[in-house]
């Protein structure tokens, strides 16, 4: 297991769990949860600096971008122009080329607008970005994203923040079978077992935010997700037994008294 690393854009990571940094009660809580989760990649948002209150704590003061990989995300963007503008600004902050693209299409279910997402992936890739793409669990669109240069496919498990867990395991399996790109389940997980299921399906990693940040005990859930991802990955690598509708006794039939 020592050499079993998550590889994204030729960079190696020990942890297969990526965590979001939103929705925590404080920066201190966020930083501690990240530490407990073992995550080495965190998603971050790009927003206006608060000019009137500069005493507000800065994310970079709590989570060191030299130690943890910041993955700028376009959360909250509803069209290609907004997403491109956001990521170009993100690159300007610190030279980040590895980014997460998320172009939403509906304010209620937060499903991705795949037409805008595809368009943005193509433009960003041509501009030299390495784009990890939040997408629907649609194998055809996943293939198209790959064809225009996505560096990781990130299908949703369920609507963002819903906590429903993976709704369409069949599609995830199909996407897994057709791509060698990192496949990372993004959005909709609710508990550690959801992460384990994603890993057992052969995904390369999972991304969780709300499930940890909004758990009754975020630190404990961060740890649970860490273990869930490891358990699921080991289970996948170990290779499960065949399913059968009949029983198969665990004890020998010989020597019965």
């Amino acid at each position: 297991m020592v050499n079993d690393k998550l590889i994204v854009d030729k960079k190696k990571f020990n942890s297969r769990l990526i965590v979001g940094t939103g929705k925590y009660k404080s920066m201190v809580e966020c930083a501690k949860a990240i530490k407990l989760s073992g995550a080495e990649i965190v998603t971050v948002a790009v927003r206006r600096v608060n000019i009137s209150d500069k005493k507000k704590p800065l994310l970079m003061d709590y989570i060191d971008p030299k130690k943890i990989t910041y993955l700028p995300n376009t959360a909250g963007c509803f069209n290609s122009d907004e997403a491109l503008r956001t990521l170009r600004l993100a690159r300007e902050i610190g030279g980040w080329k590895l980014v997460k693209l998320e172009v939403l299409g509906d304010k209620k279910n937060l499903f991705p607008d795949m037409i805008e997402t595809l368009k943005s992936t193509e433009v960003l890739t041509k501009e030299g970005f390495r784009v990890m793409v939040y997408c629907n669990d649609d194998p055809l669109m996943a293939k198209r994203l790959e064809n225009v240069g996505a560096c990781a496919i990130m299908p949703l498990a369920a609507p963002i923040g819903s906590g429903l867990g993976i709704q369409n395991t069949t599609n995830i399996k199909i996407i897994r079978s057709q791509t060698k790109l990192p496949l990372i389940i993004d959005a909709g997980l609710g508990q550690a077992s959801d992460a384990a299921i994603a890993m057992e399906l052969g995904c390369d990693g999972v991304l969780a935010n709300t499930a940890i940040a909004k758990a009754k005990k975020p630190f404990q859930m961060a740890l649970a997700f860490r273990n869930g991802v490891i358990a699921g990955r080991q289970s996948y690598l170990a290779g499960r037994i065949e399913k059968s509708i009949y029983g198969s006794a665990s004890s020998p039939k010989t020597g019965i008294i």
């Binding site: 940094t21 929705k23 966020c30 790009v46 206006r48 000019i51 994310l59 600004l89 610190g94």
Partner: protein
């Protein structure tokens, strides 16, 4: 004494009045913006932070200063 002319700019969505001919770098210094942790747009164009000294702010300029915050 020559009276300094004032100009109106929009900073992160809010109008503000500043002195005319103020350089962008002095303007940001006065705001105590940590330049290494932000990105800056002037009229929807990203500004190379090395060039701030050469830019003079003009009337109706729209400035956006962004940074990273917690997000999913």
């Amino acid at each position: 004494m020559k009276k300094i002319k004032k100009i109106k700019i929009k900073l992160n969505g809010k109008f503000s009045t500043i002195n005319e001919n103020l350089s962008f770098s002095i303007f940001l210094k006065e705001l105590k913006i940590p330049l290494k942790k932000v990105a800056i747009e002037l009229n929807q164009e990203i500004i190379d932070k090395n060039n701030l000294k050469t830019i003079k702010l003009k009337n109706n300029d729209k400035i956006e200063i962004v940074h990273f915050i917690g997000g999913g």
